[in-house]
Symmetry: C2
Subunit: 410 residues, 2 copies
């Protein structure tokens, strides 16, 4: 049985991933913008607000008219109307005058501040008392205070959040230029693997990887293209891969779990014209038998057959790759959020490989404990029981209990 | 201008939300399971693995045959074939015998351990040397080691992650019982508001809230039903609300930003038969003018017109409500991930209201700094520039710089 020919480090994997080109742009409606990555900077074509607006319910005044006002000696002002929403006010506030203004109302000419309604008393029709002074700009959102015409408001390469969608709407950007979603062909191999819909005969196992990888791909907004189970035979594999390379931007093959099957995939991938194989294996655990290649300028991942290994490798390498193709900055940070936690049990890890330790998080008074979930890499239940994982670096032999680790949440 | 009639605390909001019934179940295909909330516990109908499997490439042996084996004095075994994938092996391993086995291969009868290929030497055909001893169970995943028949593997109320989808596939659960997605009607009001597709005339403002709230709703897997902009007039509002209550599980009205408009919404909502108004305002900032009511047993949220306030209130109350309706545990924890950070600048907050301070996160050597993004609540740019927010509790007057705060990420 042959050994791995070319085992590289995780850093070398990322160096290879950085060489793949980003996808091209497409225009989408703002309604579909959530989670998409901006292709171009968004520059405002307007001042927001376009004119000064009130931030309170009250009266638009000239601040100078309220100087020294108090409960004992209120300022007396003449009201000249009420500001309506939806039009610019047509009145002009002269010295000694005020106009009723709702929150969000546009300031009339002459006014430079708003007195909150709480600090006014309504006297006879057309007269109010002001019991607190305001200074120029009080309770007013100045023209362009939010956004200035010509300002770069959102940057290319950012993944759009709800408030960014709101901002785009505010700027009138209802067609958004974003990176295309990567299409990811997902192939399972392995002679023991059957579709999850079928009842396994003795010696057979249901296909887990297609489903776990499909869902992982969805978490970063990419489009899975399920190819199902492909028989572990060179010609069949080759034609499935050819079709996948034609249909998709990225090809992911998981399995086979045996050395012979892995060799088929390596041989088939290497056999494509201008294929470049970066790795037959990666110095990580779980997940060492990971293939990474470039065919037709597209990344091809060969993931281990073990579901736990396949899932971890997909999270650690495939998802950052997809985010890179989608236009985000390539980073070694695994996908998903990160929390700090105190390791509950010491963990040993062989020098020379990066290890991903699954942990369950437990709140213990003020601190968050990370308790390792041990179990062989064939055990999907270890991933289901875990809340995330932390990384033991490649040149470290372990982490002692009580140390703080960064846990990447699933 | 009237004051708020009934201002309640955030805790009272959650007490009211807890009274709403969860949605009913639906059956979906496993392919759509990511992010859905399980309606029923999933109990395994199988042992996984169904029989003992090898976790390594090597030889299936009787452990007793390898006792004392070393490089100097290897154990000599006779090979009786190779385990094929996909069928149960038909050979029986007798004392002194071994069978070649791939990773994932099912153990043949008689064998109780696997020797890794690295610790074997292939001699003449049909003979191997074993240079390290193994004990019973080494490199073997026992029957049911991952999942036991009858075991509850996934619990009702959990939101399904990629590995959970993988587990469901492994168990053959390809139709999944989940809570329905809440349908959320989204209405904007305000006479100054125009669709984002239009060019504002003087005094007009583009509709931000519909888009920000729509996207927020999508982050928890709920289904937005956009109603667009409804004129701020009681009869029009009433008929829009009636239609929304008919079509949706939750109704969200944002605006108007003025007291008069707010009154229309309160009056219309209160006027429905058997309507119960829990709050005309909530002791929070931003977001005090928040209406919460029950009409036809459905939650009706009246959010402030200011986009920042509306977005914050949606994150703090609407999203937990949607997650509750979807079957997750109701928690005061805002939606989204949480990180700990050190506050960079002291923040003062009036006693008697819960305050949400937007912050930008900055990595400074070993620590994460949370730098407040100040700005009036009409400024959407404060939300765009921020990475998250932290909460100043209701009975606290502020947080000093250098203190650690929990930041909820957008």
């Amino acid at each position: 049985m042959p050994e791995f020919f070319k085992v590289i480090t995780p850093q070398q994997v990322f160096d290879a991933l950085a060489g793949f080109s980003r996808l091209t742009f497409e225009q989408i409606n703002l309604e579909h913008a959530l989670g998409r990555v901006l292709g171009l900077d968004v520059v405002s074509g307007d001042d927001l607000p376009p004119q000064a607006r009130s931030t309170m319910d009250g009266y638009a005044v000239r601040a100078a008219d309220t100087f020294g006002a108090s409960d004992a000696i209120p300022a007396l002002l003449t009201t000249v109307g009420r500001i309506a929403m939806g039009t610019l006010p047509d009145m002009i506030i002269a010295p000694g005058q005020a106009a009723e203004i709702p929150t969000g109302g546009f300031l009339p000419e002459g006014a430079d501040a708003v007195v909150m309604v709480e600090y006014t008393n309504h006297l006879a029709d057309g007269e109010i008392e002001v019991t607190r002074p305001v200074t120029k700009g009080d309770n007013v959102l100045d023209r362009a205070a939010d956004v200035t015409l010509g300002e770069t408001v959102l940057r290319a390469g950012m993944r759009l959040r709800p408030q960014d969608a709101g901002m785009l709407a505010g700027l009138g950007v209802t067609e958004v230029t974003v990176f295309k979603k990567p299409r990811v062909a997902i192939i399972s191999t392995g002679d023991e693997i059957i579709p999850a819909t079928q009842r396994p005969s003795p010696g057979q196992i249901r296909d887990i990887n297609s489903h776990a990888i499909r869902a992982l791909v969805e978490t970063v907004g990419a489009l899975p293209i399920p190819y199902g189970i492909v028989r572990d035979e060179p010609d069949t594999l080759r034609s499935a891969l050819l079709s996948a390379l034609d249909m998709a931007d990225v090809v992911v093959v998981s399995g086979g779990s045996s050395v012979g099957e892995r060799d088929h995939i390596v041989a088939v991938v290497s056999g494509f014209p201008q294929a470049e194989v970066y790795a037959h294996g990666v110095a990580i655990s779980p997940g060492k038998p990971t293939l990474l290649a470039k065919v037709n300028d597209k990344p091809v991942f060969g993931l281990p057959g073990h579901p736990v290994s396949a899932t971890v490798v997909a999270q650690v390498f495939l998802l950052p790759c997809l985010k890179h193709l989608e236009g985000e900055k390539l980073t070694r940070e695994p996908a998903g959020q990160r929390v700090s936690a105190v390791l509950a049990t010491s963990v040993h890890s062989p020098h020379g490989r990066e290890e991903y330790i699954r942990v369950k998080l437990e709140q213990e008074q003020d601190r968050l404990l990370a308790r390792p979930v041990f179990g062989k890499s064939g055990m999907m239940s270890t991933l289901v029981k875990a809340d995330g994982f932390f990384v033991v670096p490649i040149h470290t032999e372990g982490v002692a209990d009580g140390e703080t680790v960064d846990v990447y949440l699933f």
